[in-house]
């Protein structure tokens, strides 16, 4: 198999530990108000609003809104459901930006560096260019460029997002591999003609995770971490 010319990556869960990072930011924010919180439960509740919020854009019920704004709207909703009114608007905005300061899984920095030595690497996330740019600076992700939702003005797994990433690189989908820890992301990419790389992240949702523990189809490459992916694709 000829290696792809470019790898595009899912980010939240695949490269960075959103649950741990958000839980820490939530715990800190609540502590400054003298409030207790089940921080991981709060992180899960916040993330649970993610797909429904994007669905409004995917269906056309509302125009494209960057994920930064959806994250803030979703945070307002979760706080409201829980009856928490201790935070001022500027504090809510600041907490919503915790998505810009998530830590990478330990294998990610060395893995991306090795892959970049021979292949174009870019995020293809539902995060905006602004969000991906700041997250990359925090987490040390050495992207060649930033692709994803902002380029397409739509959200994965809508086919247009994967197509827009290939078009922006001026590559046919067959020369691009989508790398993700989520089977549905890879299925959508494959449907558009991209190659697929599954990297297992069995602790994305903590020790009780039950989804995406294993590949659900015969993806082109299945690995446990990014250095293993580099070992397969980089000579």
């Amino acid at each position: 198999m000829r290696p792809p010319e470019a790898l595009i990556f899912d980010v939240f869960g695949t490269l960075v530990d959103w649950r741990g990072g958000i839980a820490r930011a939530v715990a800190t924010a609540f502590a400054t108000k003298g409030l207790g919180v089940d921080a991981e439960g709060f992180a899960d509740a916040w993330r649970a609003e993610y797909q429904p919020a994007m669905e409004g854009v995917r269906t056309g019920a509302r125009g494209y809104v960057p994920l930064d704004e959806l994250h803030r709207e979703n945070l307002v909703r979760v706080l409201s459901i829980r009856g928490v009114d201790a935070f001022r608007p500027a504090e809510i905005t600041q907490l919503a930006r915790a998505w810009e300061r998530l830590d990478p899984w330990p294998d990610v920095r060395p893995g991306l560096k090795a892959l970049k030595s021979q292949l174009i690497i870019a995020p293809c996330s539902n995060g905006s260019i602004a969000l991906m740019t700041r997250l990359a600076r925090h987490a040390g992700l050495v992207w060649d460029c930033v692709l994803g939702a902002d380029i397409a003005h739509d959200y994965k797994p809508t086919p247009a997002v994967y197509r827009a990433a290939c078009d922006a690189l001026r590559l046919p989908p067959s020369a691009v591999m989508m790398v993700a820890a989520h089977n549905d992301d890879l299925a959508a990419a494959r449907a558009v003609g991209l190659r697929t790389g599954f990297v297992a992240r069995p602790y994305e949702y903590g020790s009780g995770q039950r989804s995406d523990l294993a590949p659900a189809a015969e993806w082109d490459i299945v690995v446990d971490d990014l250095p293993e992916l580099a070992g397969r694709l980089v000579s």
Copy 2:
């Protein structure tokens, strides 16, 4: 003056020596056909088609076409005007991609590295994401993300291109500085509210250059090279 949060850069001429790189590629291509050529004159003629080609997009006479395609069209035109029919279509495509393999001015790599330590840095070029991505890999430009014409589907100095760059970073124009060796680029950026940094590139057009030898207005910062810019903006 508070430093900007992000710097966006013109690329051709400001960061990379397009004239020297294109002349070398042209000389090599003609030599393989046993043909002589005034390589720098050819590079100038090719570049002279640049503004007229983009003007069609800026006026709306044609839809957005990435610069990669305009470069190829312009090359075909220059070859035709000179009566050169020695190149096959695939060879013309390959030569047109010489814009992906231009070398940076000597101060650019250390300067960008120093600036990136504290500020977001991105190209805001008329080159496409694909072109900027490959050029950055060739020239060692360590961007945080790639902005510019592709984001706006329009060409500088149209105001929408500078606005789209700020919007993609979720920053007000006053927090973004446009850095360029061309006074008209800075004037257009300032008109939209961006800050402005002039870096002198008196040899962009060779030793006989007559334009952009000095700042034509009171730009916010005027420097001779990027390390000097870093010295002014990074603590």
